[in-house]
Symmetry: C2
Subunit: 349 residues, 2 copies
DNA sequence: CTGTTAGCGCTTTCAC
DNA sequence: GTGAAAGCGCTAACAG
């Protein structure tokens, strides 16, 4: 039977009445079917079908039960960027794996960068949160803290009351920097933005304490150690800051570096995408990789293998899964996520 | 103040009491702040801060208001496949655009292919559903129908009570088939699976009425028209069915076709990914494209431009957005989504 | 501008 | 195996 348009929602009480049983028997039919006699159950189901009952009201059930069966995911800034970044997509896939296993829904929260983002967080009907890496001063972090539900941050910042899943970015940057900068005279870095203003530009020896994205900060610190390990002062190192993790922007920044008076002979990039842009720029101006220019990336995505790029391998998918497990109540592992250096032909020796 | 672990949730009533106002004044402070005097509002906010009130309980609010502020998305089968398919990701991004604009959350429902998937649909706290293209006999379709909330299907099947957003796949397949098969003696098709069993294999002249995925069925019918338009009987046409939309699987299927006794001289593929696999296989056996082998794709993703692939252009992102608008209550447009043929070097002339 | 009343639809007790 | 009562936390509707 179709429920006529505009009629009120059919309730469990109505179903129970038509079936000639108590509301509780009807409720059990849906929640503990084996606790109800076959006869009662079929009467309830028949009544439900006749009335077009759509099943227990999810919000009423959540209110009563105290949980929603849904995990909230906050991807930072414009929600749609998440879908443009292959690493973010892997991360989401990792969360999805766990949610699917556990029968949880996965609610991606609508972040736009506007002030009312925090309201959307506050009002989300979810049991826990996973927050994609952001800046120290992102108001979303405070909003999630205030809500007092299980929450985990990916990458950083590390804050009180929220868990953290991350690799040791500083150590990984130092390690990949050592490979990138080996034998180099003029190392350079192509960096993610330093703060939420996302100003792009070219400088030297960034003051890392002023960097507001913890992941970016730690990577810069690692690169700094790597350059100093080779006897070069950080103040000498050229840093090109890109506003986005985007090959095209990186290509143009790299073109500027490579055609300058003192072009770099080694470039460490913060993602494989960025490194791909750098390699394209190098080829365009006739540089040979790795002889004229060593290049390293980050993430070891499919591009890295294609391009023969030395890079930092990490599994965003596993990290997404780890985040989901914790946000769903599992005790967090105290261990940092794993990474390794993949050496390929884009670096010397 | 931290709320001690294990203590009960702070309620609006407690906040109101501490603030010395009625519950309604406290409620208005959150929902209609301008309707409350500055004094009352700040008392409420102070009390909330002191108690560590996390804001109105989302499920309670949804129950009372009758809506959740969340849109449900059903991606079919294992949820994580969605994130592996670039077109599906574009589609999700289109939904995300609209949700972000409207302040809606976007809940991706956990489908595993198991029988209890329909329970997850029934129990989802969402105001409407978007269903990614599936088979005629997918129980999810019936489950969504039964729930009587706004719902829209992408691609197909078209069913009573649910809206549909799709291009005219039959017409597009006929048009791209005409280009692919022009001048060909032995046209072939690399197809998506025919039903949910996803058996792969190579046959001829598939009986389209037995195909359970409507999008695949319509495309096959369009290709059939295209071959018949060139005077070739459908029964002669070799169809390689791949279980997944995956370049590697397509490559191996194409390799089989191309090394057979009567290798095809034109292959129409149902996605750019698949076409890319076909082109790789062709190159491996020394076929020249388009002279020895014409190839067409579908979707006009970034790969198509890179490979110079003739293809069907459509915007999954726009279609995702259109789905979201309808599922959020906007009147559906009666117009089908748009498509066009992009001719590039992978086809003759 | 503030408050009172009355539920939203369901499931957790606890009794039979 | 079944049922009655109680109330999850909140806000629409209406008075004042």
């Amino acid at each position: 039977m179709e429920r006529p348009v505009g009629s009120k929602r059919v309730t469990l009480a109505q179903v129970a009445e038509l079936a000639g049983v108590s509301v509780m028997t009807a409720s059990y039919t849906y929640n503990r079917p084996r606790r109800v006699s076959d006869e009662a159950r079929s009467k309830v189901l028949a009544a439900a079908a006749q009335l077009g009952y759509a099943g227990p009201h999810p919000s009423a059930r959540s209110l009563r039960r105290g949980s929603t069966g849904t995990l909230g995911v906050v991807m930072g800034e414009r929600l749609t960027y998440a879908f443009d970044d292959p690493q973010a997509v892997s991360f989401l896939a990792g969360i999805a794996d766990i949610c699917a296993d556990r029968g949880y829904g996965m609610t991606i929260l609508p972040i736009t960068g506007a002030a009312d983002d925090i309201l959307r967080i506050r009002d989300a009907a979810v049991d826990g949160f996973v927050v994609w890496t952001t800046s120290d001063d992102d108001p979303i972090i405070a909003a999630v803290q205030a809500i007092k539900r299980p929450a985990i941050v990916h990458g950083g910042p590390a804050v009180h009351g929220l868990g953290l899943v991350s690799i040791d970015n500083r150590a990984a940057a130092r390690a990949v920097g050592a490979v990138a900068f080996a034998g180099a005279k003029r190392p350079a870095v192509v960096s993610f933005p330093l703060d939420r203003n996302r100003v792009s530009g070219i400088t030297r020896g960034v003051d890392t304490t002023a960097v507001r994205f913890p992941v970016t900060r730690e990577r810069l610190e690692g690169y700094r150690q790597a350059t100093e390990d080779t006897g070069i002062a950080w103040g000498e190192v050229v840093i090109a800051v890109c506003a986005r993790n985007d090959a095209a922007e990186a290509e143009s920044a790299a073109a500027t570096l490579l055609t300058s008076a003192e072009p770099p002979d080694a470039i460490a990039a913060m993602s494989d995408q960025v490194a791909a842009g750098v390699m394209r720029a190098a080829r365009a101006v006739g540089r040979v990789i790795p002889d004229d220019l060593a290049v390293t990336g980050w993430d070891d995505g499919p591009v890295a293998a294609e391009l023969g790029l030395t890079t930092v391998a990490q599994s965003l998918r596993d990290q997404g899964a780890a985040c989901a497990r914790v946000a769903l109540g599992q005790k967090p592992s105290s261990q940092a996520a794993s990474w390794s250096i993949i050496r390929r032909g884009s670096t010397r020796h």
